[in-house]
Symmetry: C2
Subunit: 439 residues, 2 copies
C-alpha cells in the first residue's frame, strides 16, 4: 500500500463539509477501490467556529486558501470556494504550479480560465479534475473525456440549471406565472435571492462552455455563447406548447454546423416524446450525440451538497488510482480555437406567438409576410378568446395566434417578424421560441 | 510520444468490424486523447474471405484466437468471440496470464468467470475492461467502477435487454399479443431465431450479475439470480397496468436488504412517472441509487455494432492512457462472498390478476383470503366483460379481477394465492407481477 494521500479542502460550505464527511464515512471502501488511504490534512475557510457537522480539530487550518495552496504539504488541493477570480483562481493556479493535483467544482473558473489552467496543469504534470462543475452528481465530464473518446460528437445538449427547470415544471404543472414560481423557488431555497444568474442563462452557459470544449476539442469560449433566459416565458406559451405536443425547457446546446459550432442557451420547444422533455423539477440531464454510440442521456441531481460531493470524491479517487486524463480530453496545446457559428444562420423550426388585431385581412397579411420570407408554416393555431371575454372587449381586441414553422433560418424569422410588426397588425412584440430537433 | 499500442481483435462479426473501422476512422482524435497511436496488428476469425467492409490485408491473421492470445506480439487483446466457455475464455485467460491487457464485450464470460479472470488479471498487472458487456453503448461499468467510488449503493436496476423492451413497448402501443410482437421482432432482427435467452431473462441476468458485484463489492454470482421472463405477460396485464398508472418492464434489480442482497429479473410494474417507465423500444437504461449522489440514470443503445464498438474503444483508450482500474472496482481478493437474500422474503407491492367465477360470495372469499394472510389491498378493479360478451357466456363465466396490494412479502402473497386457488373461486392460475418502489 502506497502512502496516504494528503488532501486540502479550501471552502467549507455545504459541499466542502459533505466532502470531508464522505471521505471519512466511506474511507474503507475508498481505500479498497483506490489502493490508497486518503486523509484530509488541511482546510481553509473564513469562519473557524461555525458548526458544520464535521470535526475539524485534526486539520491544519489556513485562513487564506492561497497560502494553503502554496505552502501546505498536499497531494490534492480541493477548491470549493467559488467565483471565477480572486482566491479560487489564485489558489488553483498556485497549487497546479507546484505540481499539486486540483479538484474543483467551480464552473465559472473553468469556463473562464479552463484552457489556461489546463496548460499550467499539464506543464506541471498535475491533474485538474472538475466533474462537479457540470451537472453536479452526473458523471458527464468523465463520460465525455473518457467513455466517448472514440466518438465524433455532433451535438451535446442538456438541462443544466435546476432552478430554471423547477420553475418551468411548476409553471406547466400548476398553470402559475413565472413570477409566482420564482418567488416560490426562492422561498424553498431552489433559487437565489438574486436569481439573475440562473434565470438569464449565465449558469447554464458556463457549463455549456465546458461541454463544448470536451465535445469538439475546441478552446473554451464562454463569451461567444448566445443566451436568452426564461423570463419572457408565459403560461400561454407553455399551454400552447402542450397543445402542440411540446414542452418548454431551458437548454444549453452545442452543435457542429457547416459554418462553425453553435453554442446557445435559450428556452426551447422539445417534443414531448423526447427523453429531455421528461426531466422534471430540479433534475439535470445531458444528452450527447456521437457518431458511433448514437445518443446517450445522463440524468441526475445537478446540485446539492451530497450529490456534488459524490463527484468531487470521484475526481479525488481518479487521482488516487493514478488516472491522469488530459484536462479537456486532449492536451491543451492540441485544442483548436473555437469557431463560432453565427446565430443568424441557425437553422431550425420556430414557435411564434403573435397578438393579432382582430381585423379583416390581418391574418392574411401575416401569412403573406412569412411566405415572402420563404418560411413555410407547419401549423397555425388561432386561439380566440372565450365568447364572454370577447363581448367585453372592443371589436378589434388582439387575439393570440400561434405559428409553428418548418425548418428555416434565424435571420429569415427575424426579418419576417420585423415586416409583420411594420404592418400594424400585431399589438405587441412577438414571442419566438426555437424548436430543437430531437428523436 | 510513446510507441504505438498493438491491438489484436479476436472475432470479426458486426462489433469486431466496427471496432477496426472506428480505430482507423478516428485515429487522429484517439491519438490526441490518449497520447498513443493505436494500431490493429492482428485479427482472428474463422472466415478469411468474407466481406466485412474493412481492409484486413495489413493484419496478421490467426485462425485460432487462443494461438493469437498466446503468441502474437500484442499490448491489448480484444475478445469479441462470445460464449462463456471455449475459445473466448481460453484466449482471455491466455492473454491475461502473460500480462496482455484484455478488452471484452462478453457478458456471459464475465458473469461466469469474472472474479477468477480478475484475479488472473491482477496477478499479472493487466487490465480487464468490459464496458460493452453491460448495456452496450452506455458507460455504466465506468460510472460504477469510478464515478460512484465514493458512494454506498443501495440498489441498481435497469432495462438491460432491448428485445424484451421492444416487445413490451409494442404490446402496449399497439395492443398486440406477445406472440405476434415476438414474431415481428424476429422478422426485424431485434430477436434471435431462438429467443429463449432474451425473453426468459438470462441475458438480463448476466448483466445484472456484473452490476451487483460492482455495486456491492461482492463476488459475482449469476446462478443465484431469481429469474422470470416476459412470456406470461398479456395485453390484459398491460392494459390494466396502464389504467392503474403503471407500465410493465423487464427489470434486473439488485438491492441490499436486511437479510442479504436480492438479485432478481422479472416483469415489473413501474409507476408511469418514473424515469425507467419512459424508456421505449430497444433502448436500455440503468439507474443507480447511491447514498451521496442520490439516483442517477443512464440511457442509451444497449446493442448494435457501432454503439458496442464505442464502448470497446473507450476501454482501449483507458488502457492507452494508463488508467488501470481494479476489474470489479476493487481488487478481486477484497471482494466478499455474495450473500443471497431469499426471494420469499422479498418485500414489495404486488399486482394480481385473477380470473374469478361470477358467483355470489366469490369476491368476498378472495378478500378474506388476502386479509387472513395479512395483506392489505390498495385497489381492487373488477373488470366486467362488456354486456354483449357476457350474454354469450354462461352465467358464471370467469371475470378478471385485478388486485394491487400494499407492501407485503413474497411468501405471504404465494400462500394467500394458494389458499384462493383451493377455494375453487378462480378459474386459472393467478397472474402475479411485482411492483417496484420508485421515485
Amino acid at each position: 500500500m502506497a502512502d496516504a494521500l494528503k488532501i486540502g479542502v479550501a471552502g467549507l460550505g455545504t459541499v466542502g463539509a459533505s466532502v470531508v464527511q464522505l471521505l471519512e464515512k466511506h474511507a474503507g471502501q475508498i481505500e479498497r477501490r483506490t489502493g490508497r488511504s486518503l486523509t484530509v490534512t488541511a482546510v481553509s475557510a473564513r469562519n473557524r467556529t461555525r458548526d458544520r457537522g464535521i470535526d475539524t480539530s485534526g486539520f491544519t487550518w489556513f485562513d487564506d486558501p492561497v497560502t494553503m495552496a502554496k505552502e501546505a504539504e498536499l497531494d490534492i488541493f480541493v477548491e470549493l470556494i467559488g467565483g471565477e477570480d480572486g482566491p479560487a483562481e489564485q489558489s488553483v493556479r498556485a497549487a497546479l504550479s507546484r505540481g499539486v493535483h486540483v479538484v474543483t467544482a467551480n464552473k465559472a473558473l473553468i469556463a473562464k480560465y479552463g484552457v489556461d489552467l489546463a496548460r499550467v496543469a499539464e506543464e506541471n504534470n498535475a491533474c485538474l479534475n472538475y466533474e462537479a462543475a457540470v451537472a453536479g452528481g452526473i458523471p458527464i465530464v468523465k463520460t465525455m473525456r473518457e467513455s466517448l473518446a472514440g466518438n465524433e460528437v455532433s451535438r451535446v445538449y442538456g438541462i443544466l440549471n435546476g432552478t430554471c427547470n423547477y420553475i418551468l415544471t411548476r409553471m406547466e404543472a400548476e398553470g402559475i406565472s413565472f413570477e409566482d414560481c420564482l418567488a416560490d423557488a426562492q422561498r424553498l431555497g431552489y433559487a437565489e435571492a438574486d436569481p439573475t444568474f440562473d434565470i438569464e442563462g449565465n449558469d447554464t452557459a458556463h457549463k455549456l462552455a465546458i461541454l463544448t470544449s470536451l465535445a469538439f476539442g475546441t478552446e473554451i469560449d464562454a463569451d461567444s455563447i448566445f443566451m436568452e433566459g426564461i423570463t419572457s416565458i408565459t403560461t400561454a406559451d407553455i399551454q400552447a406548447a402542450d397543445e402542440l405536443g411540446f414542452r418548454i425547457k431551458l437548454l444549453g446546446v452545442a452543435q457542429r454546423t457547416d459554418t462553425g459550432i453553435e453554442q446557445r442557451v435559450h428556452p426551447t420547444m422539445v417534443p414531448k416524446s423526447s427523453a429531455i422533455a421528461r426531466i422534471d423539477g430540479v433534475l439535470n440531464a445531458v444528452a450527447v450525440d456521437g457518431d458511433y454510440v448514437g445518443e446517450i442521456v445522463l440524468v441526475g441531481p445537478g446540485a446539492g451538497g451530497n450529490a456534488t460531493a459524490s463527484s468531487v470524491v470521484a475526481d479525488i479517487t481518479d487521482i488516487a488510482r493514478g488516472d491522469q486524463t488530459p484536462v479537456l480530453g486532449m492536451p491543451a496545446t492540441d485544442l483548436v480555437p473555437y469557431e463560432r457559428a453565427r446565430m443568424r444562420l441557425h437553422e431550425g423550426g420556430y414557435y411564434i406567438r403573435l397578438s393579432v388585431y382582430d381585423r379583416p385581412g390581418a391574418f392574411g397579411e401575416i401569412a403573406r409576410c412569412m411566405g415572402d420570407a420563404g418560411i413555410s408554416l407547419e401549423s397555425i393555431v388561432q386561439k380566440r378568446a372565450a365568447a364572454e371575454d370577447r363581448d367585453r372587449d372592443s371589436a378589434d381586441a388582439p387575439q393570440p395566434v400561434i405559428l409553428i414553422t418548418y425548418e428555416t433560418t434565424e435571420i429569415a424569422i427575424k426579418e419576417a417578424l420585423d415586416v409583420v410588426m411594420s404592418k400594424g397588425v400585431v399589438a405587441e412584440q412577438p414571442q419566438m421560441i426555437r424548436i430543437e430537433k430531437l428523436k
